[in-house]
């Protein structure tokens, strides 16, 4: 049998069983290229104005450090998910592999989830009148592809894996590097772990994934910001 080309393997075999699907984000590698965001929006047809993930451009604090830190933020796939608990219509559900996703047919856009999420990961899709967020591209991972953002990241700053599987290389890298969740003190037990993030970043990018007038990143000049008002 001829050797299969990489993309010929897609969907042709089996789905891997995972218990704790998650992502490892290595800020030492990220170059802030936004490939992940654009790729996510193209893949998932995310309406303009809403984000399943977003790369934050954060000016480093202190007089000496004069460069930008890049921080891709995303739904943290919390094991103890405040959005899931908050939703009165039980429209946020947990999949077998632990991923947190929206059951659109049940969503009444009560928006409790948006308030509950400490990461700004959820927004309202006005077209469908439902809450929308990242589900780690389940339609891709089911056929053996990485999530869109992971697949697009040119510096391998994003990696997808199963943190419950000690043999998964991602689990090992995370353990070796002492990867931690974003805003660990929120107690949400994220399944997205970071290498190389610092407390000032969490503070500066407090509003999280969605656009907010409260933040002034170098990219995405904020909507409705009256020039000169600040």
């Amino acid at each position: 049998m001829p050797e299969l080309l990489p993309w010929e393997k897609v969907g042709s075999e089996f789905k891997k069983v995972r218990k704790r699907a998650g992502m490892l984000i290595d800020l030492r590698r990220c170059v802030g290229c936004h490939a992940c965001t654009v790729s996510c929006k193209t893949e998932n047809e995310v309406p303009l104005g809403g984000f399943r993930m977003r790369v934050r451009y954060l000016e480093r604090p202190g007089p000496e450090q004069s460069t930008i830190a890049f921080a891709p933020l995303i739904c943290m796939q919390c094991q103890d998910a405040p959005c899931l608990t908050a939703c009165p219509s039980k429209a946020i559900v947990r999949g077998e592999d632990g991923r947190v996703k929206v059951d659109e047919s049940k969503c009444d856009r009560e928006e409790e989830c948006i308030t509950a999420c400490p990461y700004g990961a959820i927004f309202i899709n006005e077209e469908k009148q439902v809450a929308e967020k990242c589900d780690l591209c389940e339609h891709r991972t089911d056929v053996g592809l990485d999530p869109a953002c992971v697949s697009s990241c040119p510096s391998e700053a994003l990696q997808f894996g199963d943190f419950d599987d000690p043999e998964d290389p991602v689990t090992k890298i995370a353990a070796d590097a002492g990867a931690l969740g974003w805003k660990e003190n929120e107690g949400t037990k994220p399944s997205v772990l970071y290498i190389g993030h610092e407390p000032w970043m969490e503070e500066k990018a407090n509003s999280g994934v969605q656009l907010s007038e409260a933040d002034m990143d170098v990219t995405y000049e904020q909507n409705n910001l009256e020039v000169g008002k600040r």
Binding site: W7, V10, K15, T42, E138, G144, L145, S152, G161
Partner: protein, 893 residues
Amino acid sequence: MERKTLTRRDLFRVGGGIAASGMLPLPSFAEGISAKPLAPGRLGRIDYSKAKAVPTICFGCTTHCGVVGWVENGRVRRIDGNPLDPNSKGNICSKAQGMISYTYYPERLLYPLRRVGKRGEGKWKRVPWDEALGEIAEKMRPLREAGTPEEFVFHYGRDKTKGYTKRFTNAFGTPNRLNRRSICSSNRRAPLMSFYGREFEWESQDFENTQYIVNFGGNPMEAYQGGLYMMHRIQHARVDKGARMVTFEVRPSATASVSDEYYPIMPGTDGAVAFAMIHVILKEGLENAEFWNRWANYPLDDLRGDVAEYTPEWAEEKSGVPADDIRRIAIEFAKAAPACCTMSNRGSAKHYNGVQSDRAIRTLDVLVGNVGKPGGFCLSSLRGWAGRYGQEGLPKLSQPGPKASDPMPWGLGEGFNEDAFRKLPEEVQERVNAFPEFWRKKYFGELATPSEYPLAWHWYQMRVGQLVYPYIKESRQKVSVYMSFTLGASYGYPEANLAREVLADEELIPFHVAVDISYSEQAALADIILPEATSLERWDHHSTNNYGLVPYTGVRQPLVKPLGQSRSIQDILRDLARRIGGGMEEYFAFDDMEGFYREWYQNLPISWEDFKQRGIWMDETREKDYELYERPLTEAELADTSVDSETGIITQKESGKAVGIVKDGKSIRGFDTPSRTIGVYDEIWPIAAKAVGLPLDDVNASPVAVYDTVPEHRDLPEDRYIFTTFKWNVHTQGRSAHWKYHSEIVHTNPVFMHPDTGAKLGLKEGDTIKLTVFRPKGHTYRSGEEGAMGAFENHVRFLKGVHPRVMACSHHVGHFEQGSVAKAENRKSAPEQGIDSESKAFKDADIPDKLWWSREKNGIGGGVHINDALPINPCPLTGGQNWYDNVCSIEKV
């Protein structure tokens, strides 16, 4: 140390189950949950079990990564990387998805248009292809018949057909196939060719094996041609293998931000830092004298003398980079040799003294002997495999024939185009007649080979794009038919207003045809617009230098059929040639475009079908292009040569071309320079200076690298600043502002400045300023003219990383055409006769209603157009645009 991440080659394996522990049969899509109906213009999630993957080559920027497009129901839905590409290794950037945005842009041009009303008025009618091509052929044929084919000018912005458009211009007989090399890279290319010759693609540092990188103003993390190939290698070397990267820049670019050390540097002083590093390396005795003596054509002691005064303290005064840091960096760099390398790009090169800065930087690599070594400053063999230097054993790839020969050079005598020459202004004729003999056959008139910029065409034809419009205005060349191909001159050239003025003038440009995919600023000034197929709908040959140092090739292939009535540039030019006739049709006697490309690759050792399925071919067993210069000449190459007993240079008797050099009794390649060594010293600079009357004490006239401050930066008054433009990672020149997801991220271009500078100017963030630009003072176009040359108003943002004397403002945005997304407006504006925005293929749920940053929605708008305020400023001799020298003043509005 072992790599700590999964490699991109595993991309399609992760979760694929091939090596997984527990298995479940498919399907298993999102158990138990269901979706609400989609809005019109949304397609829903891709079903990858049904979508077809087709490899091709990206066209999002000039890097050209191998990619795989997923096609579902006849539509390209998604771009992934192609892991078989040895250069990108399956990586992509955000711009790859841009191909989808531009292919399905609701305001994409789909029908040929003929202007009704005045030029530039924006009134169009749809015409059949037959009629459009017929009219163009009627205008072009008489030029050829009258023996004045040069009055047809073909001007492109990005042509990646690898010689196909030249097939057309050659068959027609015009040398005027113009580009914008001067706008882009000529000040970097010229020093490289002066050092290493033409038979190299540009430098290909061995980043994956390097330990130390000194970067002078290169920005591979955002915008460098080949940047993506460099980016993943640099990050891997840094994070996994402990390499260090030092960056000198004027603002905190993404590259500066990920570097281990970043130094804000006074613009135009990169050469000073490089010289001080040379000084330190020599002082510390860290040079590789053996390598230098073997390969540099300049005595080490002379270099020592040259840099005696260039101390780190002197460099600190010029550049602002602390002397102690320069000293330490020089030592660390030299100690890492040969696994160390410099890199530089427009940041160092796009200045009046940029050519010399780059020569100083290049000297650093020669001095520590890292050239061609693992982890060092490598050079890969030239792309396009025609059996050149370092290409032995590679299958020959060439565009199928028959191809017309190049037009005759212009001049007096047999074999020259005398008629065209005699029409040139007298002073030009005099200058050209006095040129040294070796330039006579390289001169093709003022547009293609401007006589005042001989080093733009001494090595090969780099063109001086920004002078095309002034020269047409000065009547240095009569133009009868002008064809723009994906050209953004009216938006993006310096003094773009002059480009627009000339293009609007029907006396200067009687007939203008624009080939484009969207209604660009250039197309708006055409008489006929031809809608081009996009990169997802057409063929192209691909080859470029591999940072993995093994030559490879790829193919761009159509994933889907051209939409509407759009046609590929290949089809357009073929059909036009046939209509013009008069023998031109003989060069375009092929109907089957796939067959044409199949023939191009016929010597590959794999079948065409196989190649199309892989998208890429490389001989995996081939050794890397290390130390190409030490390789022995083959028997065939040695045939009919003679050896100069003094220099050891081996010369082909018949052509008189030097092909190698004898070292230690062995006949080896050496470098592709006249001396077959490294041209640290090169007479071509003073020769060129004399030929055009540039004073010999000008920095550009020196045969060895020297430092001199940019003329207009000397005694810079306190209230004047240096205006710098830059590029963002989500955009590609002026060609991406209509990609919705990219412009959502960057749609404005505030003027970035240091907060202290802002405070000094009495500014707060968000304030509006007027930025006024002045003309340059060196030996260049309209130099020294007093008063403001241009100005614009924009708001300001503060960033600590910007050099305090710098005002940094990006271009890309501030469009006044290219449809709603580029203009940040909630209404469509491309001519409705040319588009099909209501048809299903082009329905987009976001465009134009959801552009949240538009002024109508109280957003910040789509940025400010700045290119009218940037002076045409070609560097003497090479013509490279000195983008980053411009002096400006700031006023609060």
